[in-house]
């Protein structure tokens, strides 16, 4: 008896850990006609002007009425609350003409004054709105309203892709910001229970109608359950509790496919990239010889040539990723350059390149010119299974060159501390989520003066001629009036990056989605919010 009680304790401890993540469940029952899916954490804010996280952005997207909407499927800007909009020839004046008879969700009228107030509110420094930065000089923007249906925005200078910028400005009642409870979009925030769910209800005054003249949205509401556990999310989806999963892990894709192949979609490469890079910052606390390795183009190219990207895609992502060689994904048809000549897997070339750069083998260990063994660590964030697998695969790939690699996982705050502040790391493997196909949004990554220029942040002057050239080309594309000139500049940037390998691109993870067979009106898009981009047209079979 005594023995069995001891064992019960031991078994219980094991089972408790194994079953630990199965606790928690959907927090409320589904209302008639309501769509339900999960989000990873509580939205930080419901104030549309202050959105800076993924889940707040989703709530803003499905609740806000905007003057124009960037169509995630066609990747074009379309009128929404504005029935038309025009951009002056010099690119400095944007004129919107509002639809007649617009109303907010509380029934009050929506006029150009509300639109002007919302734009000004978003541009105020006190609002700390992320969108303000996209106007380049928000302080110089003026808004006028010659009549109740016309809004004219004067910009101090041309802004690339200005139409898309207005996709992020929710039109709210003037002087009555409501945290999403009074909106001109398809839904309004009805209820929020921290750590449980956000409930949205249909806006009865939404302007949208379908081709048959029926009012939109179709669904009576949306419940967004706050649930971090992906395992639980999958189970609830399989039980029919959830209608969609916007970001399905590759392992579970195959599981759901086996159960019902019609419930999963692989849309191919996303705009996101997974990459590794070496710390090239001169002020980092690394030994001088390591800095010289990482600053050597031959070293970086050899590492790139030793990596089997096909294996990374096939093993770490179970085939649901695409090998990457440049920072623009093939999903971004307008900017992807098929002619980029990037280093592909070639061990012989890698060995030859290292030998030319003074590296040599001592037994199985690669050493530099001064006989320092080539050993370094690859840092990545803990909890990301695919990244850990990629780092472990790369660890073996680089063993073929005689390099000794230590794979280290750290929690995100500790990792960011090393990347952004102490710069005490050798190589890092992380991903970059691209929400916008226009490469202009990557300015903060490529300009050498930027703190997000990861391999060598905040350079006072470009450290190398090729970084200076990237700076020049990025600024050139940002100010060019002609799309063709912008494309030429970006193609050149892609080639420089391929030649110099400051980032060694690994894979583009595919967009993997799960959709309930009961959900109708689905038109999956690669861009966020993927399945929810046409939320006003989604409905459950048998629903309204």
């Amino acid at each position: 008896m005594r023995h069995s009680s001891r064992l019960v304790v031991a078994f219980y401890m094991i089972l408790a850990v194994l079953a630990g993540k199965t606790s928690g469940a959907q927090a409320a029952s589904r209302l008639p006609g309501e769509l339900v899916w999960a989000i990873g954490s509580d939205p930080k804010t419901f104030d549309p002007a202050q959105v800076d996280d993924q889940w707040s952005e989703l709530v803003r997207y499905v609740t806000s009425g905007v003057l124009v909407r960037f169509n995630r499927l066609t990747q074009t800007v379309e009128p929404q609350l504005a029935e038309s909009w025009t951009l002056s020839a010099d690119g400095k004046t944007v004129t919107f003409k509002l639809r007649p008879g617009l109303r907010f969700s509380d029934g009050s009228g929506l006029t150009s004054r509300d639109a002007a107030w919302s734009i000004r509110h978003a541009l105020l420094p006190a609002s700390h709105a992320v969108v303000a930065e996209e106007f380049l000089s928000p302080g110089g923007v003026t808004v006028e309203t010659p009549d109740l249906r016309t809004v004219i925005v004067h910009l101090p200078g041309r802004v690339i892709g200005i139409g898309k910028v207005f996709d992020e400005i929710a039109i709210e009642p003037a002087n009555r910001p409501s945290q999403g409870r009074v909106t001109a979009g398809p839904f309004v925030v009805a209820e929020y229970r921290r750590l449980q769910y956000v409930r949205l209800r249909r806006n009865p005054y939404y302007y949208g109608r379908d081709a048959a003249g029926n009012s939109l949205p179709y669904a009576s509401g949306i419940r967004l359950d706050i649930l971090q556990d992906q395992e639980m999310q999958i189970r609830l989806f399989l039980r029919g509790e959830y209608d969609l999963i916007n970001n399905l892990p590759p392992d579970y894709f195959e599981l759901l496919k086996q159960k019902d192949s019609s419930s999963v979609r692989d849309l191919g490469p996303s705009l996101n990239t997974e990459q590794m890079w070496f710390n090239q910052a001169p002020e980092s606390p690394l030994p001088g010889w390591e800095k010289s390795w990482f600053q050597s183009r031959a070293f970086r190219v050899a590492v790139s040539q030793a990596i089997h990207r096909d294996d990374l895609a096939r093993i770490a992502y179970q085939g649901h990723a695409t090998p990457a060689y440049t920072f623009i994904s093939p999903a971004n048809a307008a900017w992807y350059d098929r002619s980029v000549n990037a280093p592909h897997t070639d061990l012989a070339a890698a060995r030859a390149g290292l030998a030319d750069a003074g590296f040599h083998l001592s037994g199985n260990q690669l050493e530099d010119r001064e006989n320092h063994p080539v050993k370094f660590s690859i840092l990545t964030n803990a909890g990301n299974d695919a990244r850990l697998k990629m780092a472990t695969l790369i660890q073996q790939d680089l063993t073929a060159l005689g390099m000794q690699i230590n794979v280290v996982t750290l929690d995100f705050p500790a990792l960011i501390e090393r990347l952004m502040h102490t710069q005490d790391y050798e190589a890092c493997l992380l991903g970059l989520a691209n929400v916008d196909p226009d490469p202009n949004v990557m300015m903060n990554l490529w300009l050498s003066s930027s703190p997000n220029h990861q391999w060598n942040p905040s350079e006072k002057v470009p450290a190398t001629p090729w970084e200076a050239e990237i700076d020049r080309l990025m600024k050139q594309q940002a100010s060019s009036l002609k799309q063709a000139q912008r494309k030429i500049a970006m193609d050149r940037v892609q080639q420089i990056v391929a030649d110099e390998q400051p980032f060694i691109y690994l894979v583009y993870p595919n967009v993997l989605l799960a959709v309930s067979p009961r959900l109708q009106g689905v038109q999956p898009a690669v861009l966020d919010p993927r399945l929810a981009w046409n939320v006003e047209r989604l409905r459950l079979e048998g629903g309204r």
């Binding site: 023995h3 001891r6 401890m13 993540k21 803990a382 695969l393 660890q395 794979v407 750290l410 500790a414």
Partner: protein, 262 residues
Amino acid sequence: MKFNLVAAWLLMGVVLIAAAIVAAPGASYSKQDRLLPLAGATIHHWAGTDALGRDRLVRVAAALLLSLGGALAAAAVTTAAAAGVGTLAAFGPRGLGWIALLICDVFLALPWLFLLMMVRSALPLTTSPANSAAITFLVLAALGWPACARAVYRGAVDLKRSEWMLHARAEGLRDGQLIRYVIPSLVPLLLPQFLICIPAFIVAEANLGALGLGVGEPLPSWGGMLLELDNSALLFQTPWVYLPVILLVIVLLLLEAIPAEA
């Protein structure tokens, strides 16, 4: 032959078989067979492969040796520390006992999660996987003793008030002389503490991995393998992911049985 001896031989056999599997020519816990990720049992991989195509049997065997060795060592340190502190608190001078228990309570109240994260972020990134594993089990031992010491203290106090102890004192034995009889008397209490610590440390090591503090790749960790069971997609693909938990149960049963009739 007594059952406990059979259990001891069986455990020794398991460890020897694990050592033989790891030491077998061509066996490698880190070599990736990239054409066969998550494969079933084959002539080359008797228990199939893991998600990176590494031989599951070799990895489980190596993990058994590493995690069991680490957890046993950490459990031994924890139990010894708990025995020392608990006995000292019960039999030592009153002030010293009070301080010892206060230290226990302070340890129990500390936000260990944050301290662990600080420890990991302070470690050099070049710390080898083997050193990282050693540090992990050392940290676990440092964390495990206070709760255990509290239990030992309770048992030691009961012992101090027992009849034979009163008789011994009446016969003129001092507390210092009694100590050598106290520890053997506490064995029935210490043994379960020791045994409970082993699976707890194995599982805790796996959870520390989520903080980046654990056994680093490519070294296999038993706890890490147990966590694979949390992924229903993986369970669906291969039943061999159950191997570590089956082995853990067997090892625990044997550990349990060895001292049972001693």
